[in-house]
C-alpha cells in the first residue's frame, strides 16, 4: 500500500509553516537558525514526494535536488553559527532585537 502524496505534501506544508513561525516569531537567534533548517527539511520532503509522481528521469531529478539542498543547509549552518559566535562576542546577547546597529 502506497503512502498518499497528498498526505506527504500536507505534512511538508505543516512543517514549513512551523519552521516559518520559529524563524519569524522567535527572538532567540538559535531558534531563527533552526527554523530555517526546518523549512529546508520541509522543502526536501516536498521534493521527494513530488518525485514519486514522475516516471523515469523526472523522478531522479526530484531525488537529486535534495542532495544540493542538504549541502546548502550545511553551508548555511556553518556560516550562520560562525556569525552568531562573532555577534555574541561583540554584543553579549542572543536576542535578535539587539542586533540592530545598522538601523541606528
Amino acid at each position: 500500500m502506497e503512502i498518499s502524496i497528498v498526505h506527504l505534501q500536507i505534512l511538508a506544508a505543516i512543517l514549513f509553516a512551523l519552521g516559518m513561525a520559529a524563524a519569524v516569531g522567535r527572538r532567540n537567534i538559535f531558534f531563527v537558525l533552526m527554523g530555517v533548517e526546518l523549512m529546508l527539511n520541509a522543502v526536501n520532503l516536498s521534493f521527494l514526494s513530488w518525485s514519486r509522481t514522475f516516471v523515469g528521469r523526472g523522478a531522479m531529478e526530484g531525488q537529486v535536488a535534495p542532495l544540493f539542498t542538504i549541502a546548502i543547509a550545511a553551508t548555511e549552518a556553518c556560516i550562520g553559527l560562525a556569525m552568531v559566535l562573532m555577534i555574541f562576542r561583540n554584543r553579549e546577547s542572543l536576542d535578535s532585537d539587539d542586533f540592530s546597529r545598522m538601523k541606528e
Partner: protein
C-alpha cells in the same frame, strides 16, 4: 497498511517535535526537538523509497549540522538568554501568517488529485549516482557537484575567518608590505 501506520507515527512525531521547536524555552530543548523531527523525516524518506536520502538525512542533518548547532549552543551556554521572552506580542502575531500559509497550502494540495506513479524507480545510491554522473550525454550535474564542493570549501574558510578571535594575527609577513 503497515507503511501507513509507520507514516502516521513518523508524521505525528515530526509535527509534535516541530511545534516543540516553536514553543521551547531553552535553545537546547529546541535543538533536541529538531533532531527528533529530522530523524522521523528520515524514516518517512525511507518509507517513500528513498533509502539514500534517508541515510544522508541522518548522517548530515541529524549528525553533522545538529551536532554543530548543539555544540555552539553549549559553547555560548545561553545563561543570559533566560531573560529573552519566548514569544512576545510581535512574535505571536508572526505565527498567524505562518499558520495561514500552512492552512492555505494544505487546503489547496489536499483537494488536488495527485496520485503516486507505481513504476517510479527507487532512489538508491546507484540510481542517484547514474543521474549525477551520467556515462553518456550532457548533464549539468557534474558541474553543479563541483560548485557545491567549492561552496563548502568557501564556507569552511569563511566560518574560520568569522569565528576567529583576532583578525590581526592572520596577517602574514609578506601580506603586510
Amino acid at each position: 497498511m503497515i507503511a501507513q501506520v509507520y507514516f502516521a507515527l513518523f508524521a505525528l512525531v515530526a509535527v509534535l517535535c516541530g511545534s516543540a521547536l516553536v514553543f521551547a524555552r531553552h535553545p537546547l530543548n529546541g535543538a533536541m526537538a529538531l533532531i527528533g523531527t529530522m530523524v522521523s523525516l528520515a524514516g518517512i524518506y525511507a518509507l517513500i523509497q528513498s533509502p539514500f536520502l534517508a541515510t544522508l538525512q541522518i548522517l548530515v542533518y541529524a549528525g553533522a549540522i545538529m551536532m554543530l548547532v548543539v555544540f555552539v549552543i553549549m559553547v555560548l551556554n545561553c545563561a543570559k538568554d533566560s531573560s529573552t521572552p519566548r514569544l512576545d506580542l510581535i512574535g505571536a502575531a508572526a505565527i498567524l501568517p505562518a499558520a495561514a500559509f500552512g492552512l492555505l497550502v494544505a487546503g489547496v494540495v489536499g483537494r488536488a488529485p495527485i496520485l503516486a506513479s507505481p513504476e517510479t524507480p527507487r532512489g538508491t545510491v546507484e540510481a542517484i549516482a547514474a543521474t549525477l554522473f551520467p556515462s553518456q550525454g550532457n548533464s549539468a550535474y557534474p558541474i553543479l557537484f563541483l560548485a557545491v564542493g567549492l561552496l563548502l570549501l568557501t564556507a569552511i574558510v569563511g566560518a574560520v575567518l568569522l569565528a576567529k578571535r583576532r583578525l590581526e594575527s592572520l596577517k602574514t609577513p609578506e601580506g603586510e608590505h
